[in-house]
């Protein structure tokens, strides 16, 4: 047995706080290394077992109303699928219910513990059980067990809690990722199908194409498209795939009869996962032995004109059909909507031949939207499409995003003139002649944005609570439907009063719905032309809004993932850097000390010799060489020790501009001899900072020296700038730029590495020291932007805490070096 009372002491993480760098690194590795959630969980479990030297560890996730065993070691995992724990049941259930950790040193003496024999969990005496929560939501429970009784320490509990938090993050990321991938797939299918559908104009050909495309792209055994014949009231098969022609000819259904009849009668999609055991109203009219099926109504202007059904999903790798899921039903519904529109369109087309169809417009816009994943650009394309005359032709449009957490609609973007009188001025200068829709969208968007600047500012200030009894905007979200509003008069001083100020009195609202969620709403009006908004127009905008919403949602998810990834990469880089520093620190402190004394005697005696010997003798020259060399070595040694630091960071109020000026005096000769022009741009608001003065001076010296050294030959210019950051994050920005030789992109990856230098007399420690000062000791960030042959900019960001709040300094920095 490896453990005893001193178990924790024998571990190498004894001296580290629970967030110790090595452990963080290991956890980050475990989280990142995984391919898929399962292997991440396994990696984390291995890590926990190793670090805590525990005998068993398990992760239970809260799914479908119970805690389910997802990963574990030391338990009989063969029984994992069958075991679940109700909230409140046993130790794990209690932890899940109350979201508080429980530690028990010997479960035989605690009646809260409940053995689960098939897992073999009674073989362990101690248990440490901690909850995994995402904000208020229970994600799962992490359990650690040992065979012998054992009392968990505070540190171990903290560590387990930390691991639980990491797990939550990992799980969230994986889920998000899967969602996005799925989203992409769906959009791709919908797009493809609608493109194919819309390439055909003839109705009969179209129904056949719809059935075939639908079956092929959803990988189903077959697809049946029925149209309602208004004369007979029968749903007749007009297009099919995977169905023998003889069967297709015979099997017409009445409304309410069979799956398609019921779907048409109830005007909703129906999903049957297991027709063999649960046929419901299903009648196998085609005699094909279907196992599972989806049927969605084809609805045009609120009227059912037919149905679209698919049966038997075929797995990608061949084999037996698998059952449809809810998301397939969603997809079929969307395709049915597109199909209905296409069919209706083809009908209209047959009537009036040459007008540009709305659907085609929709398609074209959706093409443009698919060209970008940038959230802002999408908003912009959406609003532009709604307002330009080649598009939906509304005069103005507002877009609000729905923040479910706070239950509010937040004004996000607006286009169009604020006053009717402004309109002609803007619209006249824009001629869309001879441009493609895409060009028009982009150009008109930019243009409209400028014109709509005032209204955009106004709408961005709006925040409307989504509550019953509130105004038209809230109702659009709650009732998930569009409204045509006339002579609207919101409460004065209320959240919607801004609508009146912007002249919105007769307008329409449209919800943006994606994946069952209202992601936002649009408000449109015709302030200038005063054209009434028809129901058909609104219906059409709604169709567009749904597409727009799903693209927006995808972009948002994508943005989240990107952000999460970027944060991870940042954290890793920082970690790698600090690890190198730590190792280097221990190593060089030792060596430096050993070297210091011998160097003093070598150099000191050589100096004496040089002094005592006749000054022009050969020997004196040799002695001088010795002590010069020694002096160089001592300089390197000092740099290393400085780098190793170990000293506390002592922050106080420092006049940062003054420090810069001092440094310029110090480096005056070097700057002047090269004829370098110095250009400073100091922000007075960021003059006094709460920082370590000695370190700041060191930082500026290192950076300005590098800049000066980079400028070979005569001339060149050095620019130093400080700024109070106006971004959300705040803080202070420092920038030191030169017009020197620049850094190649390969070198750029290494300049922060200790001892990396391209100079014959460099130590390669300058930038490492800088990074340590900025990132390690002051909690800031440091970046280098450089182009070979053009110059280099070093950008430093110091966190808002460094902005002196008026009180005197003293104390430690926001982050102190840990030695």
């Amino acid at each position: 047995m490896r453990r005893g009372v001193s178990r924790v002491d024998s571990q190498n993480w004894r001296d580290l706080p629970p967030q110790g760098m090595d452990i963080i690194a290991a956890v980050a590795d475990a989280v990142k290394s995984g391919r898929g959630l399962e292997s991440i969980l396994d990696n984390i479990i291995d890590l926990v077992l190793e670090i805590m030297s525990a005998d068993a560890c398990s992760i239970w996730l809260y799914e479908r109303g119970a805690l389910r065993l997802k990963a574990g070691r030391g338990l009989n995992m063969a029984a994992a699928d069958a075991s679940s724990i109700e909230l409140g049941d046993g130790v794990t259930g209690r932890v899940g219910l109350h979201r508080e950790p429980i530690a028990i040193s010997d479960v035989r003496e605690d009646n809260r513990f409940k053995p689960i024999p098939e897992l073999g969990n009674e073989a362990y005496m101690s248990i440490l059980s901690v909850p995994m929560t995402d904000q208020d939501r229970l994600v799962g429970v992490l359990n650690v067990r040992t065979v012998e009784p054992y009392s968990y320490t505070e540190t171990e509990m903290k560590f387990a809690t930390y691991i639980a938090a990491q797990l939550v993050g990992a799980i969230r990321n994986t889920q998000l990722y899967e969602e996005v991938i799925k989203g992409f797939r769906e959009i791709a299918i919908i797009h493809l199908v609608s493109e194919i559908i819309n390439s055909v104009r003839d109705i009969d050909e179209m129904t056949a194409v719809i059935a075939r495309t639908c079956a092929e792209h959803l990988s189903t055994r077959g697809c049946v498209l029925r149209m309602l014949d208004p004369a007979t009231g029968l749903l007749e098969i007009k297009g099919s795939h995977g169905v023998p022609a003889s069967a297709a000819a015979a099997a017409a259904l009445r409304m309410g009869e069979g799956l398609a009849g019921k779907c048409a009668a109830e005007k909703r999609a129906i999903l049957r996962k297991d027709l063999l055991n649960d046929p419901g109203e299903f009648a196998d009219a085609l005699g094909l032995g279907m196992k599972s099926a989806i049927c969605a109504p084809l609805v045009v202007k609120d009227r059912v004109v037919g149905t679209l059904g698919v049966f038997d999903k075929m797995p990608e790798d061949g084999g037996e059909p698998i059952s449809f899921e809810e998301e397939d039903a969603g997809l079929v519904t969307i395709i049915a909507n597109q199909a209905a529109m296409a069919i209706e369109n083809a009908r209209l087309y047959a009537e009036k031949d040459a007008r540009i169809s709305e659907l085609q417009l929709l398609l074209e816009i959706s093409n443009i939207m698919r060209g970008t994943l940038d959230f802002e650009s999408l908003l912009y394309i959406i609003l532009t499409s709604v307002t330009m005359s080649q598009g939906f032709g509304f005069n103005r449009a507002l877009l609000f995003l729905h923040d479910e957490k706070s239950g509010t609609l937040k004004g996000e973007m607006a286009v169009g003139p604020l006053r009717a009188a402004d309109a002609s001025r803007h619209w006249h200068s824009f001629t869309p002649k001879g441009k493609t829709l895409q060009e028009v969208v982009l150009e008109y968007g930019k243009f409209n944005r400028e014109a709509g600047f005032e209204i955009d500012m106004l709408v961005k200030k709006m925040s409307v609570p989504v509550k019953p009894d509130k105004g038209a905007l809230a109702r659009t979200v709650l009732e998930r439907t569009s409204f045509n509003v006339a002579d609207y008069n919101p409460a004065e001083g209320g959240e919607e009063a801004a609508l009146t100020a912007m002249g919105f009195s007769t307008f329409a609202t449209v919800p943006l719905i994606a994946r069952e969620k209202v992601v936002g709403i649009m408000v449109v009006d015709n302030l200038v032309t005063r054209a009434p908004i028809t129901d058909e127009q609104l219906e059409f905008v709604q169709l567009f809004a749904n597409q727009a919403a799903s693209v927006l949602e995808t972009s948002r998810l994508y943005k989240n993932i990107e952000q999460a990834n970027r944060r991870l990469v940042d954290a890793r880089e920082l970690l790698v850097r600090s690890r190198t520093l730590a190792t280097l620190g221990e190593f060089s402190a030792g060596i430096a000390h050993e070297l210091r004394n011998p160097l003093v005697s070598i150099g000191g005696f050589a100096r004496r010799l040089a002094r005592k010997l006749p000054a022009d003798s050969e020997e004196a020259r040799h002695a001088r060489i010795i002590f010069n060399e020694v002096e160089g070595m001592e300089k390197i040694l000092s740099q290393i020790l400085e780098f190793v630091g170990g000293a506390k960071t002592e922050t106080q109020q420092v006049d940062i501009i003054g420090v810069f000026e001092q440094v310029f005096v110090l480096l005056h000769d070097a700057i002047n001899s090269k004829n370098i022009s110095v250009n400073t741009d100091f922000d007075e608001r960021a003059r006094t900072l709460l920082v370590d003065e000695v370190q700041m001076r060191q930082l500026f010296i290192n950076l300005i020296k590098n800049a000066v050294e980079a400028m070979k030959g005569e001339g060149g210019s050095l620019r130093v700038k400080t700024t109070l950051m106006e971004t959300e994050e705040g803080g202070v920005g420092l920038e030191i730029s030169d017009t020197g030789v620049g850094i190649s992109s390969e070198d750029l990856e290494h300049v922060f590495d200790p001892f990396f230098t391209r100079k014959s007399s460099g130590t390669g420690l300058g930038l490492s020291v800088c990074a340590r000062i900025v990132e390690g000791n002051h909690g800031g960030k440091m970046f280098i932007d450089s182009r070979k042959g053009e110059g280099t900019s070093v950008l430093i960001w110091l966190p808002p805490e460094t902005l002196a709040g008026g009180e005197g300094g003293g104390g430690r920095g926001p982050l102190s070096a840990n030695g």
Partner: protein
């Protein structure tokens, strides 16, 4: 008085300071230094004290000296730059980083003699 466990450094410092006309006593450890100070304190005007010594830590020697003779100036010799901040809380008058160039040290000694 010079207190350092490394004979080369002791000799070098002694030679250098004697060149400048000082009288120098060398000790190879804190214990010896304290004994000598006890016996013949009258002769010692300044102490150069190495911090890192095996037998008795320089800082312990410093506090023993300061307990007995508060006014006797002490210059600490260190291998580290970064002792600076902590040094302020110790009772020594000065601290010098060991370097083969003794100019700084000599200037500091001159301040007290």
């Amino acid at each position: 008085m010079i207190v350092d466990d490394k004979p080369q450094i002791r000799d070098l410092l002694k030679l250098e300071l004697e060149d400048d006309g000082h009288q120098v006593i060398v000790c190879q450890g804190g214990r010896e230094a304290l004994d000598i100070l006890e016996e013949m304190s009258f002769g010692v005007n300044i102490v150069l004290l190495d911090i890192k010594m095996p037998e008795m830590d320089g800082l312990a020697v410093l506090s023993a000296i300061k307990q007995k003779k508060k006014d006797l100036p002490v210059i600490l010799l260190t291998a580290y730059h970064t002792f600076k901040q902590d040094f302020q809380s110790w009772a020594a008058e000065e601290y010098v980083v060991k370097k083969s160039d003794f100019t700084e040290l000599k200037q500091k000694i001159a301040k007290y003699l």
